[in-house]
Symmetry: C2
Subunit: 292 residues, 2 copies
């Protein structure tokens, strides 16, 4: 890389599939399926195909919150999509999400079944369908929508920008790390100022704006993303930290974090979820581990 | 940059305000206002504070499309926010959008007035308020929402990723350019496959999904962003190109592109818009220029 200064892009970019680093198998310049594979379908109205990345956790937290409210129409089967193995490029998955990203949802309660992709769309769809986690005062809907969209447009700088260059890129590059660190800190400060004056992102109520933002920025300040807590001085965002801990304590959030988790602490890994009782064994595991 | 290979991030990141490159004045690691400045308020219900970047154009196209449908409640004053001068850090702007990004909208038809920020939220707010540019069949709303959110989550890779590193960063860096070029081309291919089977993004109808996606991906294939048409081989995305030209021909889109434009072709620059007649002089300018 000593030729960094003199690199000149070609006139027309071409794909060097051999030179893609750690993500060569999952990052491609073309869309569409790479292989035929049907998706499984379980017994519940909602079929979720996902992985417990922050975008995946948004949806499993939402579903667990809906079930905790007694919304039985939110019963779901959660199937694991191993993105490192390329499951997102299977023909069945691409039919549900042509963008080949998790999470993707099929709602079989409609005729024909309805596909929904992009975590923000899934949150809004579920909230509207079940009449929950939206502001009770319709006049506050624009504020909620603003923050929901803020999350969708901001987190790519945190995940695809900061997280990638700080934690995952094959070498440390100063300029991209500085660029995306500055933006990640600015975003944390935006949230910190917003949460200085109200208990939840969009006001007095816990809404899908919180459910969208917590898995990224909440888990970031809790030290769960990119081993970056010290680097970003997350303790200085006191209002974000207090909000993050408050939401982290919710039982539905604790369950939602476990679903489709296939990395990290073994006792948190519930690879598939098909029934509320699926958590019980894992909870015993957790207690067992804590006691060891 | 010969020390690229050996760069090691510090334990705790600190801001070097002197070393931020071209964007040192506009990129900051902290939020909030930098100076006191009230925003102007005109005569119409809607007050838009914006600039004709792709995110700004989404909203001005939407407003012009609503007015073309006869939705007089969409009458608006559009005020120019010069982001290079830091207008987005004025106290009045931060009150409308605490994230200090354009576009930001105030709706004075409600009591109290309602703020909405993030272009995707503004589009959904205006579409729902006026009952327009949403699928006429409610069963198709999830598909529209999925693509609206797809745009919000994808364009940061095109703008803040590809565009920045290909066109604006102080030097050309091979790894970030390859990373974000691959993603930009993948996104174009996602759209190309979607548009192979239907005239508009979410189906048979022109919706806010098109209005969100066109200013980025439509203008990209039309060669208007980043001087990157040849590099990305945009001609190969034939369905995106046909769709982009079809939308570009809409009179409301042509008007929307001009509003709050303060760069590029002088005859397209309508810095502020307060009345439908404001376009007439500019149209004469355009004819005059073409005749020269």
């Amino acid at each position: 890389m000593s030729d960094t200064e003199t690199y000149q892009p070609p006139k027309v970019w071409t794909w060097d599939a051999e030179n893609g680093g750690q993500f060569a198998k999952t990052n491609r310049p073309i869309a569409g399926p790479t292989h035929d594979k049907e998706l499984p379908v379980g017994k519940h109205p909602l079929q979720l195909y996902s992985l417990a990345t922050p975008n995946g956790v948004k949806v499993t937290v939402m579903l667990e919150e809906l079930l905790a409210l007694g919304k039985t129409g939110a019963e779901y089967d959660a199937w694991l999509i191993k993105i490192g193995d390329g499951d997102q490029f299977g023909s069945g998955f691409v039919e549900v999400n042509p963008n080949s990203k998790i999470p993707a949802l099929m709602d079989h309660s409609t005729t024909p079944p309805t596909r929904i992709f992009e975590s923000g769309a899934i949150l809004l769809y579920l909230a509207e369908k079940h009449g929950a986690f939206l502001p009770s005062d319709p006049a506050k809907r624009p504020e909620m929508l603003s923050w929901l969209m803020w999350q969708m447009g901001s987190a790519p700088y945190l995940g695809g920008g900061f997280g990638h260059f700080y934690a995952y890129a094959p070498e440390k590059m100063e300029y991209p790390i500085n660029r995306f660190t500055m933006e990640a800190k600015r975003q944390l400060d935006v949230l910190d100022r917003q949460l200085a004056e109200r208990p939840f992102i969009a006001g007095d109520e816990y809404t899908i704006a919180d459910i969208a933002i917590w898995p990224w920025y909440g888990q970031l300040v809790l030290g769960r993303l990119y081993s970056a807590a010290e680097f970003l001085d997350v303790e200085s965002y006191k209002n974000v930290m207090a909000w993050a801990k408050k939401i982290d304590a919710r039982p539905a959030v604790q369950r939602g974090r476990m679903v489709n988790r296939a990395f990290g602490e073994p006792e948190l890994q519930l690879h598939e979820r098909h029934d509320a009782s699926d958590f019980e064994t894992k909870t015993q595991d957790k207690i067992g581990t804590a006691a060891e």
